[in-house]
Symmetry: C2
Subunit: 187 residues, 2 copies
């Protein structure tokens, strides 16, 4: 059999149920079919339970639109997940429309950054709003992307402003399903 | 549970064993660990057998480097898979190195096309050499890409020239595992 890949992207499982370190505080339906709520969210590198209310997964993979110059800026300004003060967590699964996926790479990049300033908007809120993008589209999942955010409660208004900017962008006209969950970290 | 995605990429399974419409004629090791040979290759949208000598899978997904102008050219010149005269099939699984995946999108695109002319080289051999790219990297697979080619026996020398051009490119210095299998279609 083939050997294990040396450079495999990190596969992350998000499971809603009764397990996990994140307690659900808000379920905020946005676009299209919603997901059910559950008391807890478990984030893990393996599947934990057969009893999850819902389970989503995605891979932390190569970024599809980020240039080297942008990557250097992002890295310089970013702090990682897991900071002790960052006790708010938000999970936003989104799916983009067939029209988005019918675009070519240069057209998607132009909408993503030159028109919608997706990377630039996210950059403004660093390092307070940490995020990690998980790609799900190639995994036969119901969503294309799962974005996980962490920040301190004092920065929740800034987080709301970040979401407002992104949701007002041209890029978001291509989002055809979106659900938002907010959580508090529990000991 | 979440609904089935409307825009899911096509997941394709390649299984080597005793089943399938493609009879193995050549196993040509290229770079790194080889795969074992088997009499037949089965290509299907579902997993067929538990007895495969090896099984690989990939998704026909959005193209990561192709511009709209290139996509228009490719579509105009391409014929599909399954042409009756195209009785030769070739499967080339490749993996790219960690150094490749550490590059940003603009750096990968520059090597892929501006330096290595990957799309332009493939274009020269259309419509005779049909191909379909399957993305495997995000699926925790041992290879990053599976490329499937189909052509008539009369065009095998052209196919060899195509491979020679690609393998001489800068892009190929980032390939750290590659295996080539050739097949004849059987009734």
């Amino acid at each position: 059999m083939p050997s294990t890949p040396a450079n495999a992207p990190l596969l992350v499982h998000f499971e809603a149920g009764t397990l996990g370190n994140w307690a659900t505080t808000h379920l905020l339906p946005q676009i299209g079919e919603v997901l059910p709520s559950a008391p807890r969210l478990n984030i893990a590198l393996d599947e934990k339970s057969g009893s999850a209310v819902w389970a989503l997964k995605g891979v932390v993979s190569s970024l599809r639109y980020t240039t080297r110059a942008e990557a250097v800026d992002l890295l310089a300004r970013s702090e990682g997940l897991g900071r002790p003060a960052a006790t708010r967590g938000v999970l936003i699964p989104i799916r983009k429309s067939p029209a988005w996926w019918a675009l070519a790479q240069d057209e998607r990049r132009a909408i993503y950054e030159e028109q919608s300033r997706h990377t630039s908007i996210g950059m403004k809120y660093l390092p307070h709003i940490a995020r990690r993008l998980h790609h799900s589209r190639d995994l036969s999942e119901p969503f294309d992307f799962l974005t996980w955010f962490e920040f301190a409660p004092a920065h929740e208004a800034a987080f709301d402003a970040l979401l407002g900017e992104l949701r007002a962008s041209t890029e978001w006209t291509y989002v055809d399903r979106e659900v938002e969950f907010r959580f508090d970290r529990v000991a």
